[in-house]
């Protein structure tokens, strides 16, 4: 890491240095005390950085070079669909006609964005094979929460109050966490030897207390659950609903629609499937599509088109669950998703999924024999291998991941799904060329060879990154989560102890 980057921007701050310019005050100045009385004003200014504009730009440019994005190289992070983010999306999303809209400006002055929302809602419904869409959710997990509350409202409207949601053991961690936020109890079912839901285990837990089942299909093993229609029949048979976690929808666009599989509620991650940038951890968007029967429960507002062709927000939906966020959705993100779908069309989207699956199978074939393959089947858009065979050399999946960083590749997802020991989850996406895929295979091959012959290379890796392995245990033991300023009062040990004790006390059953 360059020495300058290791300083925070607060450490680069120098009193009196500044970057800002502001318009001069052009109205008659009232004494500040008459605006905000002294008693209500802050006693000490916030310690924000004092830097020049070039200091600022150099600081963040230096930081950016320490980071790795899709444009830096292959980023086969399973379940995250790190595809290329087309530049035209950015051109579209930056048009002031979109960015400058205020959420409360009159609807007749926002007809373009309302039309975009209206069309995008319908396109997503077509891709899902279902009826109506809400664009409100800000991320995939937020979409799960939304969909589960819609399911809950639907059951209540039928006079039912089932308590449980079934989740397979391959599910993303967000699934059980969202289930709890929606007031349900998660109920895990195990997978069978083919990597799908174990039908016997499913039958054993199905009863009328089941509100629904959440499933990613293809699942997090990258495998399509061949029993999906049977699963749907079983769940519907006890009055439950089927929720589709769209994290892996990049495998099925135009090839199989969740609605046709029997799902009732679907969320998409636009930042995975529809090429909106991941932003270093967001913003994404998690639109939710539901079967027509569930549409009355969607959050308000939804966009409608009047007989005269104008678009408007419909708030008059008495069965609606309410609102899942302020305003209408991550519109800036959704403009990019619209642009992507508009550019590709139905045919283009199908090719995306075909190529994503082809690329994953190509890497799967290339890496055959390097690792254990717990479920040796054709994969969909991603696959999971186990690095267990490397344990005899004292090497773990984590070490393989860290060594990949030295090859300037972003590692796969590690230690997930939980049912695979030493899991490495590889998702190349459709936007990698054959040469890129060959390079990924070559790197994995070389690393496995290194594991056998020079395992220290892996255990010591990475060595070519801005920092080497970081002490995460120390970070958690003594959290330092903000800048320590020179003028901070030295914290008395007793105070730390008291705070820790209070925190421990507050932890309850965690």
């Amino acid at each position: 890491m360059p020495e300058t980057a290791r300083q925070t921007i607060y450490e680069k701050s120098r009193p009196g240095r500044r970057a800002y310019s502001l318009p001069a005050l052009d109205v008659p100045e009232a004494p500040l005390d008459t605006l905000v009385p002294a008693a209500m004003r802050r006693s000490r200014p916030p310690r924000l950085p004092e830097v020049s504009e070039i200091d600022l730009v150099r600081h963040f440019t230096a930081l950016s070079t320490l980071n790795f994005g899709v444009e830096s190289g292959t980023y086969a992070l399973g379940s995250c669909t790190m595809k290329y983010n087309p530049k035209v999306n950015e051109s579209a999303a930056r048009l002031e006609g979109f960015t400058g809209l205020h959420p409360y400006q009159p609807e007749q002055l926002a007809q373009g964005t309302l039309e975009l929302m209206y069309e995008l809602e319908r396109w997503l419904a077509e891709i899902a094979g279902l009826g109506r869409t809400t664009l409100q959710p800000a991320a995939g997990a937020h979409g799960e929460f939304t969909g589960l509350l819609v399911m809950r409202a639907y059951h209540e409207s039928k006079g039912r109050a089932p308590k449980k949601i079934i989740i397979p053991d391959t599910a993303h961690g967000t699934n059980p966490a969202s289930v709890v936020m929606a007031g349900y109890q998660p109920l895990a079912v195990k997978s069978d030897e083919r990597g799908g839901i174990d039908l016997e285990a499913l039958r054993a837990v199905l009863d009328t207390d089941v509100a629904g089942l959440m499933l990613t299909n293809p699942n997090t093993l990258g495998l399509f659950d061949e029993h999906i229609t049977e699963i749907a029949e079983l769940v519907h048979g006890v009055g439950g609903l089927l929720y589709y976690d769209g994290a892996n929808a990049n495998a099925i666009m135009g090839i199989s629609r969740p609605g046709d599989m029997g799902f009732d509620v679907v969320h998409f991650n636009t930042h995975k499937t529809f090429s909106t940038p991941h932003g270093g951890g967001g913003p994404g968007a998690g639109p939710v599509v539901v079967r027509e029967e569930l549409a009355p429960f969607l959050p308000v507002p939804v966009v409608e088109r009047a007989a005269d062709g104008t678009y408007f927000f419909d708030y008059d939906r008495p069965l609606s669950i309410g609102k899942m966020r302020s305003f209408y959705g991550n519109i800036g993100v959704l403009v990019r998703a619209y642009t992507y779908i508009r550019a590709l069309g139905g045919e283009g989207l199908r090719k995306v999924s075909e190529t994503a699956v082809l690329n994953a199978n190509y890497v799967l074939a290339g890496t055959r024999g390097l690792f254990d393959l717990p479920y040796d089947r054709r994969c969909m858009h991603e696959f999971v291998v186990s690095a267990t065979p490397l344990k005899e050399h004292g090497v773990r999946a984590m070490d393989v991941a860290k060594r990949l960083l030295d090859y300037d590749l972003h590692p796969p997802t590690t230690y997930f799904p939980l049912l695979v020991d030493e899991a490495l989850m590889i998702e190349p996406t459709e936007t990698e060329s054959r040469e890129d895929l060959d390079a990924l295979v070559a790197a994995l091959t070389a690393i496995v060879d290194e594991a056998r012959t020079q395992p220290d290379l892996l255990r010591d890796a990475p060595v070519r990154t801005p920092v080497r392995r970081l002490d995460e245990a120390e970070a958690a033991r003594h959290p330092v989560v903000t800048q320590r300023f020179a003028d901070d009062q030295a914290e008395a040990p007793s105070e730390t102890a008291a705070a820790t004790a209070a925190a421990e006390k507050g932890r309850g059953n965690l």
């Binding site: 921007i9 500044r18 970057a19 800002y20 502001l22 905000v36 209500m40 802050r42 916030p46 600022l56 730009v57 980071n67 994005g69 444009e71 830096s72 992070l77 035209v88 006609g97 960015t99 205020h102 400006q105 009159p106 002055l109 991320a139 937020h142 809950r152 966490a177 969202s178 289930v179 007031g183 229609t229 046709d260 932003g279 270093g280 967001g282 913003p283 994404g284 309410g322 609102k323 966020r325 302020s326 305003f327 991550n330 519109i331 642009t339 069309g345 045919e347 190509y362 074939a365 089947r377 972003h410 920092v467 080497r468 970081l470 002490d471 330092v480 989560v481 903000t482 925190a503 932890r507």
Partner: protein
């Protein structure tokens, strides 16, 4: 490539999908377009909007049209930031990790709190999380929420608390637009997990946070403050007043309005609450050579480790929006932030003085304000706003319209302010020049005169 994987056709790869659920006909979507055509379509849509940013706008209510310095887009457009994902591999993610650490620091400094997380989606969802956190900490089941909290945030809280509570109850405002502290106290009891107020509140009134803190803490509840972080450049921090959790919307820092999203929710807590924090948190540490570095920390709170026992389901947050906010705040510094706030406050005060001199316009928000205030018009605000829009002015937010279309239990204000149909909420940013403010006052006066003469004619007829 097919040969390498021993497949005859691409179709073969999908053999695991039962034929009954295979889609053989193409998706019913418009045909694909070339890049120039698709951009033409997007330009057509953008041109069908008349963005507030190009008009003389007084719209606010949680989304503000502040100038965004050029450096912000220059930084957030760096693909190493915007095409990366959550920093699961810290050795190659120091850029985003360090920027989050710096963002956490800025939020902590602004709010006067010890700990900020890495960001939330928006203020509404941050408020929901804050109340859930308070429920977990106190093991209580209710929340007393001032009607001064933005009605949309309250609606989100009501919607999202259906699952695991605590159950919110709205307490009314007093004359003048601030929280009725007696009513807030009456609604706070032994099962109250959180007392929630907003600073400045929805009507722009400045709340007495110390009074709210006393009400909360005497009952053993946590004080949750929804605070405008731009105002915190001038105002006493919620932390100093005794807040336990501070949340809010930081869109005003470096993020375009974008029709209301993506914004930037923030959430900050006192030190004892750190292990209840939802979402990502970055901490400082060292690598094996002793070099300084940053990592995601206390991850055992989070869904990918703790699953159903996580503090929240949040995974993706608004990291890029947080970066934009950090860059804008670094550009401003504390002096620039205070100046910006002062300019907005001076202009808002000037406009309020002038509007209140017009016949027929009366005061709603009394006392000190920051950059936003409400006035009562002599006629329904919704129609008035439509008329002014034709003149090129976005006059403000008709308060009745915003609250009416949501659940009245969640979004009411109480009876002290009277009928809200005539109430207009006006926000002023540094973008508004004196000439624009004066022209707006003149136009409002003219519209009111037209209306009075219309009324006279009707009376005469």
């Amino acid at each position: 490539m097919l040969a390498a994987i021993d497949a005859d056709s691409v179709d073969d790869l999908f053999a695991d999908i039962p034929e009954a659920v295979r889609r053989r006909e193409p998706l019913a979507l418009p045909a694909g377009l070339s890049e120039s055509e698709v951009l033409d379509d997007l330009r057509r849509l953008a041109a069908a909007n008349t963005p507030a940013s190009t008009l003389i706008s007084f719209l606010g209510a949680g989304c503000y049209d502040h100038y965004i310095p050029a450096v912000v887009d220059a930084v957030v457009s760096r693909s190493e930031f915007f095409t990366a994902y959550t920093p699961y591999q810290p050795e190659r993610s120091q850029g985003v990790l360090q920027s989050i650490f710096e963002y956490q620091t800025a939020i902590a400094e602004l709010t006067g709190m010890a700990i900020s997380n890495a960001s939330m989606y928006d203020a509404g969802t941050a408020l929901s999380e804050a109340v859930i956190l308070a429920g977990g900490q106190t093991r209580r089941h209710c929340a007393a929420v001032s009607a001064g909290v933005h009605p949309e945030y309250r609606q989100v809280l009501f919607t999202e608390s259906v699952g695991q509570g605590p159950c919110p109850q709205v307490t009314p405002l007093a004359v003048g637009g601030a929280t009725d502290m007696d009513a807030l106290r009456a609604a706070t009891g032994s099962d109250t997990a959180a007392v929630v107020v907003q600073q400045p509140n929805f009507f722009g009134a400045l709340e007495d946070l110390q009074a709210a803190a006393a009400i909360a803490h005497e009952a053993g509840a946590l004080l949750v403050v929804v605070a405008d972080p731009l105002a915190l450049g001038l105002l006493e921090t919620p932390g100093a007043a005794g807040a336990d959790v501070v949340v809010g919307e930081a869109q005003a820092f470096g993020n375009a309005m974008n029709f209301g999203g993506p914004g930037l929710g923030y959430l900050a807590v006192t030190k004892p609450l750190i292990r209840r924090l939802p979402g990502r948190l970055v901490g400082e540490t060292k690598d094996i050579e002793g070099k300084r570095g940053f990592v995601l920390t206390l991850q055992t709170r989070e869904q990918h480790i703790r699953r159903e026992r996580a503090t929240s389901n949040i995974c993706s947050n608004h990291a890029l929006n947080a970066l934009a906010a950090l860059v804008h705040l670094s550009w401003l510094g504390s002096e620039g932030l205070a100046s910006l706030g002062t300019i907005c406050a001076q202009k808002a005060a000037y406009l309020r003085r002038r509007l209140l001199k017009l016949p027929g316009i009366s005061v709603v928000t009394e006392g000190p304000i920051f950059c936003e205030f409400a006035v009562r018009l002599p006629r329904p605000a919704a129609g008035f706003v439509q008329e002014l829009a034709r003149d090129g002015f976005l006059a403000g937010v008709p308060v009745g319209l915003v609250a009416d279309r949501l659940d009245p239990v969640a979004t009411g204000f109480g009876s002290a302010l009277g009928d809200l149909d005539d109430v207009l909420l006006v926000a002023v940013t540094e973008k508004r020049t004196r000439a624009e403010l004066d022209a707006f006052v003149d136009r409002v006066a003219a519209r009111l005169v037209v209306q009075r003469s219309d009324a006279a004619e009707v009376a005469h007829a």
